[in-house]
């Protein structure tokens, strides 16, 4: 019998519940078709929400599973690598068209996005600033380049979507990449300043007798 920590258990099941509700909502035909009717909603809203659901599911995992997973995910490297790979593949325009006509591809797409969100949740903290920076340094430029291609392409890259929709998605992908980069950079600066401040006070303490 594992020892029960009272406060952790309800929050975990609550997270699983939210994830379950979100998944049911996304799988409900009306919502799914509504999201997939537009290229922008398909890639920005549905993709993001599926990743959020995966993120919540991973947060609800019990501790012993985490310990086992961490053996294969030192410094969050394999998790973030998997997420980068999946995002790269899911941004290929053919995926969007295929997902609409082939239910096997649709299921694989959703599973990949769930796994992607879960992998980021499990790997982000262990990754540390360096690996996080490497991951974002790969994913964000890729997102911006794909966005730029969508925005400037004179032809439709998806048979199921209109050109103005594609251009809007492209523009928003570029903005989103820039926003994530800016947010992470701000957070990085804050972390570094915090570290410096801590270092400085320690330094002051250490150097005080020498300077005086």
């Amino acid at each position: 019998m594992k020892p029960m920590k009272m406060p952790a258990v309800p929050s975990r099941s609550a997270l699983a519940c939210i994830a379950g509700v979100l998944l049911c909502l996304l799988a409900w035909p009306g919502v799914r078709h509504g999201l997939e009717a537009s290229m922008t909603r398909h890639m920005l809203v549905q993709y993001s929400l599926l990743m959020v659901a995966g993120w919540l599911l991973a947060a609800a995992l019990p501790g012993r599973w985490l310990a086992r997973l961490n053996l294969w995910n030192a410094h969050g490297i394999s998790g973030l690598f998997a997420a980068a790979l999946m995002l790269a593949i899911l941004m290929i325009p053919r995926v969007l068209d295929l997902a609409l006509v082939d239910s096997r591809i649709e299921i694989l797409k959703c599973l990949a996005l769930l796994a992607c969100g879960a992998a980021i949740r499990l790997s982000w903290r262990p990754a540390g600033l360096l690996v996080q920076g490497f991951f974002l340094g790969n994913v964000l430029p890729m997102m911006a380049v794909v966005g730029n291609l969508y925005e400037t392409s004179p032809v439709r890259v998806c048979n199921a979507y209109l050109l103005d929709d594609q251009a809007r998605l492209g523009q928003m992908l570029v903005w989103m990449a820039a926003a994530i980069a800016a947010a992470w950079f701000a957070w990085l600066v804050r972390a570094l300043m915090g570290r410096d401040a801590a270092g400085m006070t320690a330094n002051d303490e250490a150097t005080k007798p020498a300077t005086h």
């Binding site: 294969w72 790979l85 999946m86 053919r94 995926v95 068209d97 295929l98 209109l162």
Partner: protein
């Protein structure tokens, strides 16, 4: 750390395999590119959906296309279109002129415009449309698929995706479809590749037609 490295290598291989499958060995990135490549690799037999049109008795499309003698260049249209479709009409008009200039030389090449708006484009409407485009019935015919289910089947078989653009028009992956003497879709050309499509059609008509 060893397990993380091992998992990362396996992920890289899996990602490579998935991307290679999705893009036909990194050749195509869009569903339209994949459609054209797949047709070129593996001809698609035309379905036996019922068609009718001005001067064409109700019959199966496969039967009409597989007359054993002529090569057919097919495009999909709807007569209500007032924008891009007029440009496409002129593309077929130019091809008709080119065919008229070289009539009697080599195997027969003919043009066929199929309407996917069967409810509106009755044979009478198609006749008026053909007259407006000064189509020569010896070379260029117009048909519709009266039954909506048949229309869906034809569009699915030839992977034509029709999207309403919200302004009363339809957007579709318009292209020149080349059908051989056996009624198989063998190549798909862009509208910009009109000359190439015509040359290829002539080549096909000459190689496979019995010499007089």
């Amino acid at each position: 750390m060893f397990r993380t490295a091992l998992l990362s290598v396996m992920l890289a291989l899996a990602g490579y395999a998935a991307a290679a499958w999705l893009t036909h060995g990194f050749q195509v990135w869009t569903a339209e590119g994949a459609r054209r490549l797949e047709v070129a690799l593996q001809p698609v037999p035309s379905p036996a959906v019922r068609i009718d049109g001005p001067g064409i008795a109700p019959q199966a499309l496969s039967q009409y296309l597989a007359d054993g003698q002529s090569v057919t260049l097919v495009d999909f249209v709807y007569t209500r279109c007032q924008t891009v479709c007029l440009a496409m009409g002129s593309s077929f008009q130019q091809m008709q002129r080119a065919l008229q200039e070289r009539s009697g030389q080599g195997g027969p090449v003919r043009l066929l415009s199929i309407s996917f708006d069967g409810g509106h484009d009755t044979p009478g409407v198609l006749q008026a449309y053909a007259t407006r485009l000064s189509a020569d019935p010896a070379l260029w015919r117009f048909v519709r698929v009266p039954d909506p289910q048949d229309t869906q089947r034809l569009l699915a078989d030839f992977q034509v995706v029709v999207v309403p653009d919200g302004r009363g028009d339809f957007e579709h992956n318009a292209a020149l479809l080349l059908v051989d003497q056996q009624g198989r879709l063998v190549r798909i050309f862009d509208y910009a590749e009109q000359q190439l499509a015509l040359d290829y059609a002539r080549h096909l008509a000459n190689t496979a037609a019995p010499s007089p």
